[in-house]
């Protein structure tokens, strides 16, 4: 229920994609900039928020897309992620737009352990303020899992080099690569003002079933194997490959194997196909390359012949759910399936591991052997040690790491300036501006395109499979990008209501194509939202979407708007004789460390 002080939060929730994005990137605004041909502006808006637009435009987990309002209108979401890539592909030189890195340092030294997205984001945020940054990483290049775990056919090196370069090549950063940190105590002893742990979740889970140790040479841990391929330590694999696991790493493994020698590559999953953890589009990409996915296959033993892997045996199961919704895999009783193979890739999950953190230096560990991390400040129980990214709360994704790192950077800055990490955190920044240009004229595109989602063009499969480094997706061209961009419903352009102007003529209710609006009586003290939803003009079944409830109108009734399926067409505001409705653009920006210095 809406109270004035909550209005901005209410409006923020209405921008489904931005709200779902961990970093709250202003999605509709950057899509609008693409539609206007302002690719560089769009890129910079992204860069400010998510640091890696070119990378994320290819490999983001896209929590925004399942949230897209089009999904609730029984349609495919806007291709938000791939539009981000468009901004990156078509931008001009941005070097002049990057913030200056002062040569006069502020005297504070920060250590970042791991050179992945979390550490790089903290570096990006702190460098313009004059911090001196030292990065440690055990790989030979910066980028972390972006570089080691994501295959080049999804993310070319140049894109990583460019966006990592914007951070580490502009001064203020000392990189110690090929440098594995074995002791946090030693790092702390070097007198850094703060230390960030951004080491990700580097350890792939193993599968200890009979035969595992007999055939070690041809059984590989997925993430390690991907890193070895990325750094060219491994350049081939046998012809028959079985990939165990149903997550995104499994999808990367099978597609990589297909390119470096695997002729018959099969993915097997313990669970039913529908509950696979991999993103639907990654599953689709693997299937597109002719890779079968066998579900309900539980690996039972490795078959070996004189220390050579020959096959892997599976038990067939079906999933059953108890009354609590807990899943059990019940054997079907059919004969076990034996699949011949030369190599097996195990991609059944990742773990954090902190053998290098001494347990006696003031960092508390929890029951899962992870450091205790404050979910707001990202500080551990050690005053100067922070954690962000997968190392903080377990494996998530790049965009979550970036979002957490922005918060960690704020904390580090507050710490270095001797301020409270909780009380002095800056609030999010927002503007809410009317889009009215004249009578019935808006400065946003209010006519809603009914087009279906445009497919991203791909390179021919035979060409894609011929080379590990050939990017599969060609990306949208300008024309397609323009069409896809026009599918955006502009959910950031809010319907803002002014009670005092309303004459209760019902014009907005009558014209609303999706029946969002109702004028009715509602008792704020006694009334329940559930009961209210029964009385609205349109069906109001989606309780996850908020109701806007106005203050009292002249007749004592209130204006209710169910935000669920509003298409932001602006017809309510156009048909309003008194401008009680206005279309106002919310530009909401999550707080970053620079906000502390304004």
């Amino acid at each position: 229920m809406t109270e004035p002080r909550d209005l901005v939060n209410h409006y923020h929730r209405v921008v489904d994609c931005q709200y779902a994005c961990p970093a709250h990137t202003p999605v509709p605004e950057y899509i609008r900039l693409i539609a206007q041909g302002r690719h560089t502006d769009s890129y910079m808006l992204n860069w400010e928020s998510n640091v890696f637009p070119g990378i994320l435009g290819r490999v983001c987990d896209r929590p925004c897309e399942p949230a897209c309002r089009r999904g609730r209108l029984q349609e495919e979401p806007v291709a938000i992620c791939r539009l981000k890539r468009v901004a990156s592909d078509f931008k001009e030189d941005i070097s002049e737009r990057l913030p200056d890195i002062p040569t006069q340092k502020n005297g504070k030294h920060i250590a970042l352990i791991g050179a992945g997205p979390a550490s790089l984001t903290v570096a990006r945020d702190l460098l313009p303020l004059g911090y001196d940054i030292t990065i440690f990483d055990d790989l030979s290049q910066a980028g972390g899992m972006i570089r080691s775990q994501i295959p080049r056919f999804r993310l070319p090196s140049e894109v990583i080099d460019e966006e990592v370069g914007y951070i580490i090549d502009r001064g203020g950063v000392t990189c110690h690569l090929n440098h594995r940190v074995d002791s946090l105590k030693q790092v702390l002893a070097q007198d850094f003002d703060a230390v960030l742990i951004g080491t990700g979740a580097p350890r792939g889970r193993d599968l200890n079933i009979p035969g595992r140790n007999d055939a070690d040479e041809h059984i590989h841990i997925g993430v390690e194997w991907l890193a070895n391929v990325a750094f060219k330590h491994v350049e081939s694999i046998g012809e028959k490959v079985v990939v165990l696991g149903g997550g995104n790493t499994a999808m990367d493994c099978c597609r990589t194997a297909r390119r470096i020698g695997g002729k018959e590559v099969i993915v097997t999953v313990r669970s039913p196909f529908a509950t696979m953890k991999a993103s639907p589009w990654e599953i689709e990409d693997a299937q597109h390359e002719g890779i079968p996915i066998l579900d309900n296959h539980v690996p039972k033993r490795f078959h070996t012949d004189n220390g050579r892997l020959t096959a892997i045996e599976f038990e067939l199961v079906r999933a059953e759910y108890d009354s609590n919704g807990k899943r059990r895999l019940i054997p079907t009783g059919e004969d076990n399936v034996v699949i011949e193979c030369t190599d097996v890739l195990i991609a059944v999950g990742q773990e954090n591991s902190f053998p290098w953190i001494e347990r006696d230096i003031g960092i508390q560990f929890n029951d899962w052997d992870m450091p205790e991390v404050d979910p707001v400040t990202y500080r551990t129980s050690h005053e100067r040690v922070f954690v962000a990214g997968d190392a903080a709360f377990g494996p998530e994704n790049i965009i979550t790491a970036v979002a957490q790192a922005h918060q960690a950077a704020i904390s580090i800055d507050l710490l270095c300036r001797g301020l409270s990490l909780t009380e002095k955190r800056p609030p999010p920044d927002y503007t809410l501006v009317s889009q009215k240009m004249g009578v019935h004229e808006w400065s946003y595109q209010n006519s809603v395109a009914n087009d279906e989602r445009y497919k991203v063009p791909l390179i021919a499969t035979d060409k894609a499979l011929a080379d590990l480094g050939t990017e599969v997706e060609l990306g949208y061209d300008i024309e397609l990008a323009l069409r896809e961009a026009s599918r955006c419903l502009s959910c950031d352009v809010q319907t803002v209501f002014y009670e005092a102007r309303c004459i209760e003529c019902d014009a907005c209710i009558d014209v609303c194509p999706t029946n969002c609006l109702t004028i009715t009586h509602f008792d704020r003290e006694q009334g329940s939202e559930d009961e209210l939803r029964q009385r609205l003009v349109g069906p109001s079944k989606n309780t996850e979407q908020p109701l806007y409830i106005s203050a009292d109108l002249n007749t004592g009734r209130v204006m209710i708007k169910d935000e669920d399926v509003c298409v932001h067409c602006g017809l309510c505001a156009e048909r309003c004789p008194t401008a009680a409705w206005d279309m106002q653009k919310l530009l909401y920006k999550e707080a970053q460390v620079t906000a502390c210095h304004k």
Binding site: L73, V448, E504, D506, T555, V565, L571, E574, R575, C576
Partner: protein, 350 residues
């Protein structure tokens, strides 16, 4: 300005008995002034036809000239339509109805179209009890020509320039009652809870069903002192009773306290429930309606709701004993029954 409405509708939009959604009853996007009461009336017509599961192609919508008469473009886009000459909608509807009695006829007119240039036509169509729903979208001014006072502008109502009206108004509901209309109601564009069931009942009524709908003109007649503004009507509206309409084929499930509710059964079996009627009012008595209108008028109130209904009306087709089939469905054999029939007719006259 947006001249196009998006194709998106609520994904859970209900369907009616025919499998249609409300969208199937919509028309083009309105070009009337924003906030015009007429748009609410269009919306009420859409709701009524959708909820009654009337096949859109079995409706004919007819109008004359004026803001009101533009509105048929904005509803029932899949129905038959005829935009006639100023004030002549009743003649056209009469002709259409005599040719095809099977359609549902909705005539939409305004206070200028019905109470000034078309007053004669209005009188005769009411008197003949033509089977139709006749809606007057009554805003008490000539909105299309910059808001001059009309024949229904109330005495002492102040117009936008601050001038009071000095002429007695024509009360069309009162007139319809006196002319013998068999279903008479008054409503307000801002009260769909009342307007939609009234329209449904009117379309189920076999005979001339008249609804005078007060429909504020936001541009020229929504100022303080106006007696047809949103605020004035809301403050001064009193209903004869609240109304529910239950179509013939639907089982009546709601139970009402017998002391407070009156059931009116129409000839087709549909039932109108009237709750909490005003003291001494009888919906079957013309004089009762006329008295109630006058009493409220004297108190400065606007009486709305169902004013009068004749549940056993004799419509124009009954009176002039027309064929029961639409003319277009008559075959050559029934139109030219042959010399044998001619002979028998001639013989009967000898």
């Amino acid at each position: 300005m947006s001249y196009i409405i998006t194709n998106f509708r609520h994904p859970l939009s209900p369907t009616n008995k025919l499998g249609f959604t409300r969208k199937d009853y919509e028309g083009a996007l309105s070009t009337l002034c924003a906030g015009c009461g007429h748009d609410s009336i269009s919306s009420a017509i859409i709701s009524a036809c959708f909820e009654m599961s009337i096949e859109p192609h079995r409706v004919a919508k007819l109008s004359g000239i004026g803001c009101s008469s533009k509105t048929p473009t904005y509803f029932l886009g899949n129905s038959h339509g005829f935009n006639s000459v100023h004030g002549r909608m009743p003649s056209i509807t009469t002709g259409a109805n005599l040719a095809n009695r099977d359609l549902t006829y909705i005539g939409v007119s305004g206070d200028g179209d019905s109470a000034s240039i078309g007053l004669g036509q209005f009188a005769h169509v009411a008197r003949r009890n033509l089977n139709m729903l006749y809606i007057v979208e009554n805003n008490g001014c000539y909105g299309l020509t910059k808001g001059q006072n009309s024949a229904t502008t109330d005495l002492d109502s102040v117009n936008k320039s601050g001038v009071s009206n000095t002429f007695e108004p024509i009360d069309l509901a009162n007139l319809a009652l006196q002319l013998g209309a068999t279903f008479v109601a008054r409503s307000f564009s801002g009260d769909k809870q009342q307007l939609v069931p009234l329209m449904k009942a009117a379309m189920s009524h076999r005979g001339f069903a008249f609804i005078d709908v007060i429909s504020p003109c936001v541009t020229f007649n929504n100022n303080p002192g106006s007696k047809k503004s949103y605020d004035f009507v809301r403050e001064h509206q009193e209903a004869t009773s609240s109304i529910d309409f239950v179509p013939m084929e639907k089982e009546i499930t709601t139970q009402y306290d017998p002391g407070t509710t009156q059931e009116v059964t129409l000839h087709d079996g549909s039932v109108i429930h009237l709750h909490k009627a005003i003291e001494g009012f009888n919906v079957h008595d013309r004089r009762s309606a006329l008295r109630a209108i006058k009493d409220h008028q004297e108190r400065g109130e606007v009486l709305t709701g169902l004013l009068y209904v004749d549940t056993d009306p004799v419509d124009l087709h009954d009176v002039i004993n027309t064929t029961h089939k639409p003319l277009s469905s008559l075959t050559e054999s029934s139109l030219c029954p042959g010399s044998g029939m001619l002979k028998s007719i001639n013989d009967s006259l000898r």
